[in-house]
Symmetry: D3
Subunit: 275 residues, 6 copies
């Protein structure tokens, strides 16, 4: 799932010329033990990917994950230990940390939303606003943060959005066209941004309605009108501050682009032990 990405990330760092510094100043037979440490509090994700980076650089490096993906750790926690050739550890370090920092960043951002809606019936999901080339890892990291996954791409569910409705000439026509063509395993979701659009949709029907950019009061009305006939999903302007009110409107699902497109990385670092 991530072998190609890891290889490309290493290529970015090494190109054809390799690690000039390490090859020039570290003896080939030097061995070290290093700790990967979370410098700040957050949810860890990416242990397996980080392990894979070290394995690609040098199969003889030993990596031990001390913390399972999906665990929230405090600042200063050692999350992995790495033993083996000093050269190999130094060469793999940045690529492993960049991946783990990204993945843990997404998991942590997701966790902040999940925690904020605890006790409501809603679930947090991601969107397709993922980092180009990292979608599978981003979606995995969302699960590690306690979220669920929305569709993976344009290929695994139908989502009729604003622009489709414009191009197709209306909600009813769009839904009917889709229903007559897609296979029986595919769910149909339709985006509406006003209650009158919702009313039109309720006539033609769908599996899921995306209630876009509605305030909590409007969301509540929408949920009432739907009355269990479709899954209700809210999106738009979701932050740790606003998300609870959205969840309390009674929607089933809340999707948030920010947990993937704008998650700051979690600061993880690698420290050589001196002994």
């Amino acid at each position: 799932m991530y072998a190609g990405l890891v290889r490309r990330a290493l290529d970015e760092d090494l190109a054809g010329a390799g690690d000039l510094t390490t090859e020039a100043c570290i003896p080939a037979d030097s061995v070290s033990r290093a700790d990967i440490v979370a410098r700040v509090t957050g949810v860890i994700a990416g242990s397996q990917v980080a392990r894979h980076v070290f394995a690609v650089v040098d199969p003889d490096v030993t990596v031990e994950a001390l913390v399972e993906d999906g665990t929230e750790v405090e600042a200063g926690t050692v999350v992995m230990t790495v033993d083996g050739s000093s050269r190999s550890i130094l060469t793999a370090e940045r690529t492993a940390l960049n991946l783990m920092g990204r993945m843990s960043g997404v998991a942590t951002a997701t966790h902040h939303l999940v925690r904020a809606i605890a006790g409501t019936g809603a679930v947090i999901t991601d969107t397709r606003k993922t980092m180009p080339g990292l979608r599978a890892l981003d979606k995995y990291s969302v699960r590690m943060g306690g979220g669920r996954n929305h569709r993976f791409g344009l290929y695994d569910a139908v989502m009729i959005k604003d622009n489709h409705i414009v191009a197709a000439g209306g909600i009813t026509g769009a839904v009917e066209a889709v229903r007559s063509r897609v296979g029986h395993t595919v769910k149909i979701e339709v985006e509406v941004d006003a209650l009158d659009q919702l009313d039109e949709l309720l006539v033609v029907g769908a599996d899921i309605v995306l209630l876009d950019n509605m305030d909590p009061a409007t969301l509540r009305k929408a949920v009432e009108r739907v009355d269990g006939r479709m899954i209700c999903e809210a999106s738009g302007g979701i932050t740790p501050e606003t998300v609870r009110a959205v969840a309390e409107s009674g929607v089933d699902v809340i999707s948030a682009g920010s947990i993937t497109h704008s998650a700051p990385q979690l600061d993880v670092a690698l420290d050589f032990r001196r002994d």
Copy 2:
């Protein structure tokens, strides 16, 4: 430079099954005109990449960039127009926006630092803490935001860091080992985090010193001791709030990981015109 990435990003979104929604509800002969709009203020980057996404999906789509990369625009500015098959535009939309939003986000984060140090002699550079798979685009975006590029990877400059010094047994040994091995076109940079380390380095010499995590007062002392014999680079905890004091210490270069590893995306959207 980005053809492989664009193809992979499209593959993530389309897999083998294509765009179910668009194929099912948009007639094959429908044509549209759409605007790509910056929803918030920021520096635009990625026009060429976005254009390439549309061209890969459909060479007959016409894309016009209204704003050059590197320009700061206000919220609401139309930065590109897209004309052609409605199906093609809808299929390419998310991939194009994800790339452009990322690139403009990095450019904007860079610009915030560059603006904060205006009038000092320092320049802002990136680090190797880039998004895996996106390094070339991240580094380009930094330039569009007014920054310069640090080394591209482990292969194009020597940087002797903390962990190298531990594994090599000291600064002097590390620098001498490197100098006797690398080619004459390679610059040598050494990281120090205290003034006594700097004193040791000044004896053995290097092209660049990385002054890591020093406060402005210490930085000023370091710059004085170096006295032009090496390029002085500061790093660690650089934010738009702290960066000016760092620059005023007299360092030549300030490198900041956050402009790539934690830049929030710039919100860009695609709107179909209704007419």
Copy 3:
């Protein structure tokens, strides 16, 4: 969607050494006009793929499709004409025909089932028993034959089969485990091969039930018990001779592996015009 496959298929035929025969006996400036002819009656699919083969070998070859994909033609029908360099046409010929023959073969096998159930409410779908490397083309060809597509892979719908139930320890546990984990856009299908299993499934519920290897009488009972609460899909031993009785049992969907895993190719050939 098929660019990689076409390149690989051409590589199989050309390796590094190219087309020895054509390069040795056809003058570089010879031009020809050729017809692609269906030697037998069937449904055509693959015109665009065949066109792409010629375009990869030589962008200056002109290909005109005389028949749209999805059309049933009689034996002897000219379905495409090809004009241009004789060398290029001869080099591309076999790869283009192998692809078109395969795709038209799948479309034709599908059409035989679709025609046999005309007037019933059921639809024919494919399975995941596609030719390795050709899934997207196989699924497209099924649509051209009048069928619809089942899920594309393990990633776009849940199908709890016999072996999952064995490993999970029962239908109820398996369905509940899935429901608590997958996203809200994913449908859940469960395979049952006896009516008592169906009864267990009706309690826990699902979106689709796969009624595997049941005779028409049992299928009718199953459809009655489901009574609209799930989509009913039949599979197992579907042939043009047996399919109508299955459809008349009242099931919604009939899935058939044979239309992809055992479809004989449709005989299409390329004839140079002599004039």
Copy 4:
């Protein structure tokens, strides 16, 4: 030889999202033992490829082949056993079976022809009418069914066919052009479909003559006229019913497209043991 194909076939089934069903309903620590069973009588091929599929998904799954490739087995025979993680087995199952079913199908179709001509001096060979992307596996499967391989592609032997003769302006010119250009390791084969063409060919000479679409009586005359000066190969309309008469005409080689382009798969299935 097949590593790329196996990876692509798995990608078709898994895309970025993986095996939703298995991950959701099978515990990560569940282990199983499963049998791969031939549901019908036929010749097995593809054990190594199937083993490779399991190994790619999970190197810790143990696969034991109970039957060597090239063996004819009766319906119900267990041909392989698979032990290990239930998740891994379920994820790899369809890809492994699709490959093994295809390969055994080709081997079985070949075997039907080989058996039909037992005792004549002729051998059965394949053609270039293989499944796109599967040529190496198709050719291997033909050998496992008791056939031999014709050329692998356009690159490893010269075959002057109908369309080459049209474009080159005649048999003699075509053969002479080829002979003056290709290397000394390459054999030259020429297709003729009538005895007067054969006479023209006998004057200019070749290594092999392809006697296309001739009835057994004409083939016998052709073999007599050739009288050992070229290898005689027959093709066109070869079926298990017609092949013996063709072989008894005295030809050396019989090539048949149907054993690759229209071989139905051999039904192989994977059953979990319940214990």
Copy 5:
């Protein structure tokens, strides 16, 4: 045939960071006209490949080949002109020249042998001792130098060499084993390094005999003993000085590794016009 190689060669030169010099010191709108000049006398090969390099870097650069591949030119001859963006020309220059210099070097080395045996009946061929990754281009260049191609690899002809005979336990056994297994389109060549081995081979028979490292007198005896029953190929220590005596021994083919494994490049350079 060479698209992958060209892309990789450009990647070697550009990695992710591009052409620092050109981007920094040449204005984006500067256009130039440049000549590619052969600095020494030799046979030109690689015009199409060089053209492709420029096209990959910038489709708008115009390249005109003034000399056809296979032509011998004098020192100072302008063989191509290149017009377009100065940046693009400078970025593509080295890759284009490296390829053209290599290919012309191989063509020239071949030509030296071909010229030396003019008037004898022998032909010069290459071997499998080609530059890794460049086999197709090396073999093409040999043809441009007036040579013919030996087999392309291990896959398109049988060559029983010294080590095979050791491992198989003798010539006769090796030849018989091969003959019973390979297809009817494959020629069989056997290497012998002494006349008694030749005698053994003459009994069992083959299509081609490789007479390895024999002096001209021994070669003449070998040719006499073969007496037209096999093609005679000589190899070992072939240089422009020794090759004529080898050819005059009466062998049909002379194969030489040096024309690919040790050919010095032909010095070709690119000069910007100043006007």
Copy 6:
């Protein structure tokens, strides 16, 4: 670093059809022991790459390197032993030898220059005139021959050459443009071919000057004028005969294209032991 190249080199030799000879005449269970022997005196490089070739073909083959890369050996030295399946050894042989012969050839050519300047202060470096696709291996081989590496490509140092100066309109403008744009880790080198150009360069300054095609007397004057303010590099017409005089002019670095673009391979062969 070389995994892709090794795979491609093996593909060139095997294509889809494999090693016809070995599969047909060597029993699957035959095992052998073979020696890789340097037939002539030279510096060995490529042991790890050769080992990798055997490992890709068959992980069970055992390879022992008897000589470290960078060692000069006499003709007849056994440099590696190879034990394992006879088939695997024969299939991998040519690819392994082609790589090792190339790499040792480059190391040996480098060594000839390095030895010739022993005792002067100068070092030998390579250029970008490497074999397309082999740059990383060529540069490694140069180091094994006692040389150092010049820049790896257009991306890791600035080199302002003749054509840049023409297109940029002069040395001063070119250098100033570069200096204002490239990052602080990049060195700037400028090519001059006359002393007056050098004088112009001394005013604007650079890190390295490339003194192109100057005779030793002119080089000496150039070195005097530079007087330690730049690293002095000489190039042009460097041979084992001329290089010492160049070195004695006082330059720091001598770069030579011939050690990569025209190095003859070192003759290494693989001999099966007979016992």
